[in-house]
Symmetry: C2
Subunit: 149 residues, 2 copies
DNA sequence: ATCAGTGCAAACTTTTTGCACCGCA
DNA sequence: TGCGGTGCAAAAAGTTTGCACTGAT
């Protein structure tokens, strides 16, 4: 399924008149392996020949062609993950102390209920509901442990 | 009920060894009138004798004593609103184009269902669920109108 | 040869902080 | 009169951009 992913990415880029360069492939690969939204330092760290500007620019391109999604955390910094149609619909558990993010899925029955109700509320207010963001804010294992100390 | 609000704020500040100064009162008043999360420019604009540093510092204090809540938007900038126990539990509809935010409430029955399920999922992952963030992302009336042009 | 992509450094935006001064309990 | 609050200006942190160079078709 990995080659499927890259094939899809390549296609989306080509459709937008863009190339699937080595660096872009590397970014996609890192995001796939991460399995959770990654911050830019994570994408640059230890990777020589990967300046911030390229990371930001390539992520912007990948976002525009629908390959990655940009998520803003509680601290106001950006994290990036593969678009949901390349993975699966999920939500985030965000640690309010260290900002760590875990992926989580919830039962599709409840998912649909949430979606429907929110869309309804949105329509009442003149919004065209195109998506929702359901995050859980808490304290992760690690930060609870160090808080005890 | 307005005096109740200020009395509560004053009490919370006093309990933390802080004063309810005129500027803090002004900030609380503006947030109450806004009825939606406000960005710092909104809190400074047109208000002389209200430098950014004071706004940020006072908002930080008010957040620490549980009077205001800081919300990060899709664009990564902070917005501030009165804490939920001073208003009512609600969610946000965020315009993905202009970043406008509307408040919205959903039926308490569904609210409880969401809360319970998310807490459960969080516990499985070693998080201590202390809250959730349910936002709806869409396009507001104004931006839909200008998109048509 | 052309045009997208890259790398460096500088600019920009939002938020935080150092420091001297002000003012209320 | 002491300590919290204020204001200015500078610094951080994260992100974006200008520009010259590289590389693939």
């Amino acid at each position: 399924m990995t080659s499927d992913l890259h094939a899809t990415v390549e296609e989306r880029l080509r459709d937008a008149g863009q190339r699937y360069t080595l660096k872009r492939r590397e970014l996609v690969e890192v995001l796939r392996r991460a399995g959770r939204p990654s911050a830019t330092p994570d994408l640059v760290r230890g990777r020589r020949g990967m300046p911030q500007s390229s990371v930001y620019r390539n992520l912007a391109v990948l976002e525009q062609v629908g390959v990655v999604r940009r998520v803003i955390t509680e601290e106001g910094i950006a994290r990036y993950e593969l678009a949901e149609d390349l993975t699966t619909h999920h939500h985030h558990l965000v640690c309010r102390v260290c900002g760590a993010v875990e992926d989580v899925t919830i039962p599709s029955r409840l998912e649909r209920t949430i979606e429907r109700t929110l869309a309804e509320a949105a329509a009442d207010l003149g919004f065209e509901g195109v998506g929702h963001r359901v995050d859980l804010i808490g304290t992760c294992r690690t930060c609870r442990a160090s808080a005890t100390a």
